[in-house]
Subunit: 224 residues, 8 copies
Amino acid sequence: MDFARLDHDRKRRTGFPEVIFCEGKPDEFLVDIYKKMYEREGQVFGTRASEHQYEIVKAALPEASYDKVSRILKVVSTDYKKPELIGEIAVVTAGTADIPVAEEAAQTAEYFGSKVNRVFDVGVSGIHRLLSNVDVLNSANCVVAVAGMEGALASVVGGLVKVPVIAVPTSVGYGANMGGISALLTMINSCANGISVVNIDNGYGAGYIATQINRLAVGYKDEE
Amino acid sequence: MDFARLDHDRKRRTGFPEVIFCEGKPDEFLVDIYKKMYEREGQVFGTRASEHQYEIVKAALPEASYDKVSRILKVVSTDYKKPELIGEIAVVTAGTADIPVAEEAAQTAEYFGSKVNRVFDVGVSGIHRLLSNVDVLNSANCVVAVAGMEGALASVVGGLVKVPVIAVPTSVGYGANMGGISALLTMINSCANGISVVNIDNGYGAGYIATQINRLAVGYKDEE
Amino acid sequence: MDFARLDHDRKRRTGFPEVIFCEGKPDEFLVDIYKKMYEREGQVFGTRASEHQYEIVKAALPEASYDKVSRILKVVSTDYKKPELIGEIAVVTAGTADIPVAEEAAQTAEYFGSKVNRVFDVGVSGIHRLLSNVDVLNSANCVVAVAGMEGALASVVGGLVKVPVIAVPTSVGYGANMGGISALLTMINSCANGISVVNIDNGYGAGYIATQINRLAVGYKDEE
Amino acid sequence: MDFARLDHDRKRRTGFPEVIFCEGKPDEFLVDIYKKMYEREGQVFGTRASEHQYEIVKAALPEASYDKVSRILKVVSTDYKKPELIGEIAVVTAGTADIPVAEEAAQTAEYFGSKVNRVFDVGVSGIHRLLSNVDVLNSANCVVAVAGMEGALASVVGGLVKVPVIAVPTSVGYGANMGGISALLTMINSCANGISVVNIDNGYGAGYIATQINRLAVGYKDEE
Amino acid sequence: MDFARLDHDRKRRTGFPEVIFCEGKPDEFLVDIYKKMYEREGQVFGTRASEHQYEIVKAALPEASYDKVSRILKVVSTDYKKPELIGEIAVVTAGTADIPVAEEAAQTAEYFGSKVNRVFDVGVSGIHRLLSNVDVLNSANCVVAVAGMEGALASVVGGLVKVPVIAVPTSVGYGANMGGISALLTMINSCANGISVVNIDNGYGAGYIATQINRLAVGYKDEE
Amino acid sequence: MDFARLDHDRKRRTGFPEVIFCEGKPDEFLVDIYKKMYEREGQVFGTRASEHQYEIVKAALPEASYDKVSRILKVVSTDYKKPELIGEIAVVTAGTADIPVAEEAAQTAEYFGSKVNRVFDVGVSGIHRLLSNVDVLNSANCVVAVAGMEGALASVVGGLVKVPVIAVPTSVGYGANMGGISALLTMINSCANGISVVNIDNGYGAGYIATQINRLAVGYKDEE
Amino acid sequence: MDFARLDHDRKRRTGFPEVIFCEGKPDEFLVDIYKKMYEREGQVFGTRASEHQYEIVKAALPEASYDKVSRILKVVSTDYKKPELIGEIAVVTAGTADIPVAEEAAQTAEYFGSKVNRVFDVGVSGIHRLLSNVDVLNSANCVVAVAGMEGALASVVGGLVKVPVIAVPTSVGYGANMGGISALLTMINSCANGISVVNIDNGYGAGYIATQINRLAVGYKDEE
Amino acid sequence: MDFARLDHDRKRRTGFPEVIFCEGKPDEFLVDIYKKMYEREGQVFGTRASEHQYEIVKAALPEASYDKVSRILKVVSTDYKKPELIGEIAVVTAGTADIPVAEEAAQTAEYFGSKVNRVFDVGVSGIHRLLSNVDVLNSANCVVAVAGMEGALASVVGGLVKVPVIAVPTSVGYGANMGGISALLTMINSCANGISVVNIDNGYGAGYIATQINRLAVGYKDEE
């Protein structure tokens, strides 16, 4: 693979293994990368994979599995022993259309070893749905708030909890939502405290940060 | 006044008298307009007036009065008999910094004959403040929701009431609020129903529309 | 349906039943939601449906009907008795290309029980077409003004009527229309009073608000 | 003047003498330029001049005169014989706040030898004011339409006349007018034909083009 | 045709017949409109037509003809006698990719009775190509300058001619051209005089205005 | 204080006391709020205060102190016993001009009880300055990265550490930095993991979140 | 070819032959242009070609060759003798997804006679990968830095080398990357010196400029 | 100076000494930095200095000198021996208002040891002024093209010369120039080759890069 420099040192520096962003990778490159990483690590985790990409990777690595909703394409060897999940993260969404991004966040966090509670479809236009779940939010070490359209969910959540809220704007919406820019601006300008924001539709990034915080909260140490 | 064409017909067509937008009007023009309208109508109502403008108008028309917060500059003759206020409008704000715009809305609606209930500083980061005022909102014929920063208030209100919500984004905020564009986008993209939006800081416009709705609700008829 | 939280309380809180936004919903989810709602309510109303979505819903619920222009996908049981339509709303468009959005508004208002008058293709470049319809506008309790390109229609209408104007910018146009942002800005910055704005192409939202106002004007009361 | 290259050839190439854009020019440069041009041409015409600039130019060239509204700073020698004005241009504005830009256009056209009709404060929110002036517009060879806020005036004018409409967006407005960008977009996206647009507040440019068209219409020939 | 209000009065008011903007019109509507107009006028002129639209119109009206480059779809009866072309317009482009928009402008002007000179592929990166055609530009009554990418052509042309320049930004380019917004801004901010601008890719609009000017220049009078 | 609803419940819900955003607050309001809060809590912490605001608060509450760089205006009673600082946060800046925002973050975190390490002026154009401080970053529970201009610092830091990075774009820069939007976009689009973003110049928000994370890392519990 | 004006003089003026931008060129035009240029020059170099374009050109000119990654479509006669490559240019990328743009730059520079060193996948989130290649960068006469997402690579490179850095933002990324605008802004606002920027994905432009600089550095002289 | 980390290594790494960006630096910091650098280097070069900053630096370091046009604030000891200027750079501007930015570029290049030719006020609206200076441009090793408004100058220059063109957009203009963004976009989208762009008003950056190129062209070597 002369086109890619594997960052062998990444796990030592950051505590996390490399993850593949599948979208737009040419077929040959993708299969090659999956094979190389699977050899070295015994498992591969990729995001934003298409069904076509699943098929070509599965042809090369039959252990491959694919989740249509989150678009995560994993390869885990049969003798791989899942780590016990630690701590607790809550992932909430405003609507059902935000679920794919939320699942990317949740499954990323689970892959990295965090326990996840899902609280979906609790948007602010029916505020009682969120309020009746405040206890779930407060038992988490970090809340991931996923919302498109006007993205107001993050602000309300931020005013209800003690822990950091990672806000994920989504591209869900139409017209003046400008592909998610509107929700992003809402979250960046939030009047509530404790909210920080990742890129539009970046469920993976939110799952990563939530795990960092969750690890700190449970006193997790790397084995190296 | 050869520079301005007074719209004598406006009251008949729209049911509302003309109002002066004072900001940026040169001194001589402004005084002239106030004098002409006062002669003809017996009262003048102007918005976005500065203290300096108050002084020059007061010099010409001693009945002039000025409200620092809303920046409304009124001239009402002493024998003018206030109309009885009809119906009910609720004006809510997210924060204290939104009050000037809210007062412009409230006092405009009152000038046009509507009764107004004020519910200020009930932003979504402390959601209980809003929830404990739901009854006030529900007794109104129209709710004016005034908010800057991320403007999430409108969405939560929209999900709680039966009546139309006029959302007023304000320029309150900093950084990526882009002078109120962020709050405007939030409100335009709201996931809640029943929300329509006016220009940034346009309290006057909201008070006008709220009165139109309020008049319809109480079966108000023009006298002409 | 563990992916969606039905808002059973919505009708009581807001006076309106839930409506399905079909665009982008996965096939299985959509059919499931239509079936659940049809069971519970005896009727379902969905917007922005594709012909494909119509086919799969019809396969499950033969009472389904679809309007190509407005893209509304309804299911109404044969023994459902239409409510009498109350009050009056006017829906006007600038051009013929704005009709799909206008029909979404009109049919939404009709579904919610409002009588609707349609006045299409009366854009301001041929102003006499609008002026000859002023009486129709003035007999309504609310005017919905639908326009793309530069969206000037709303301002002219606003200066002609006593009732609130709900302005709906459309994505009709090309080049610097930026997918409807241009028309949205025009309407938000209108020099006329009595105009409030909803999202680009949001006919549904306009039909909803127009009905809220229409109900207030005729003294409509919920039965519960 | 080693900092500026006078374009001696301009009159021959374009038919128009050079004009000074005063805004932002340092004091010494400005006076120097006025003096050089006055020597060579016997008259100087500058736009966007401040009162301070008027004072320093007047100190050097006592023939200088200044118009506060249009901000035009002229120097014309006492023995200069005004050319007879030819043809006809109409300059219309939406509001009184647009008059400074309109006067820049009108006085520029007059300086270049065109006869100008002014029709001010005929914005579309009171459409009868414009309609009662259609004859004035139709007798002109070119209409300059000046409007801020949502700038809808240009579209209505475009649908009423046979001659080209030069649309001038102004920065008049607030909030989402974005310094005039909103009016510019409205005019560029106009549904009416025959409309072309110049920069925000560019009255000078509109007066120049209107004169080009007016000259063509009357068969004007340069003397050279 | 209850969906469209034909503007019978347009020719009298503006001097130009109605033209069909084909893009996005549903098949049945389009054929219907072509048939109705052909009946009434004996000729129909449509812009932005697809090949599919050509086929369905031709099936109904065999006299239909289509130009692939300009995408103009005309129907002219065999006994229609072309008017003699009057005056002169120059249409220049920066590159070959701008030709489709330029042809829309040129053929529109020709349809409206103007004589057109084409000067294509004379972009400013090889300035001698433009300079060697200055005489052609100067013999015209109006120059239409068509350019994408950075759109600098208009400014250079503006400095070389006496007549009005109608600048047409095109969507040609990539990256930061933002679909033509970059060229539009260039032209609006031009340092040269005599330039006014129409919408991105709006060849039709430029051909219309150029004809208005050309008619004024040759003293053309409507027959009615 | 009928203009403001004190959120008495906030400390219980979120674990943090209320903080005053001073910018733009009218003088009387500000002094009033400081006095009320000082009475109730024994200490007040305000951000973005001007020197003038310091003077009027000091006149009412002589214990007031002000830091010119961070613009923090504190009132702490003399018998107030500072809590012991816990855990560790690192605050890094790209340049010296970013220090005011960084100090707002650092002093906020200290006020909320966190120990802070400052690492200033380590921008990426001299990358060795940052690399020689990696150990300091790695000993922290959270890194706050403050940068204006192109904001590249956050990405490099994100690739070097195990803990969450709170990125704070600043308005430092000129031209195409668009008041900090450029740095905000850089940070939102970061290719590095573990980075989440707050509003432009929002040092306070970053200090708040960093403290939330720091508290989780040291197992901090509220006393109530 | 009456649609295109070949710039015969270009090589003399600028030192470089004409290059074909293939994207969007109609089939017949493209083949025609390739044939004409091949006849005259004995070689043709085209960028942004599709596989389809390769096929139709190859059908006409069997010597045609195509590189899928860079999308360069070359025709070189078999007796063409490649010039010796001179000097040295370094092309670096942040990620593997940036390679197509980088190859366009590298192969353009090679076509124009420059020696190129490729250093791919050295993004700043793993800074050691770049630092271990500083010697390669410093041996070049010019560095081309290609990066999408947040584009921070250019700033770090700029702080490490003596020679000019040509920064190429790419459209790689998603969400708030806005098609590459984010990376473009990052590079334009860079805190490092010696960085200038070309259009998004403009590998060709960077290869051209890098060759200009490389030629100057080795004292290259045109033969004419 | 504990607030700033002097980059002692910069000269060795990049070949250029540190330069002070004065704008916005607090008085004490600025004087301190000037003193420290003067001690160490014997000379200091600062850009964007105000007259006030000149006064306070002069009070501390009487050798200080200031140029009002370029706003450069230099301190050079009396026994400092200017290096001989090498090679040749051309700096061209579109208008006189662009001269301050051009002088910043020119004087920066001269400070770094380059010979500079100035060609001012040769904007494209009078193209002959530029064409009569082509020889000056062609004798340079690098051309710096400085232009505001629509910024078309860079494209024309790029088509006339063999050497790299560094394009500097300026904030000169009004209305839709958006503080220079318009000129920036023009230059980034240029149809001409050999053009790369720096930030708006960034004369310093252009002078730096031009010197890098000039040094390569003359075979300059650092002494260390």
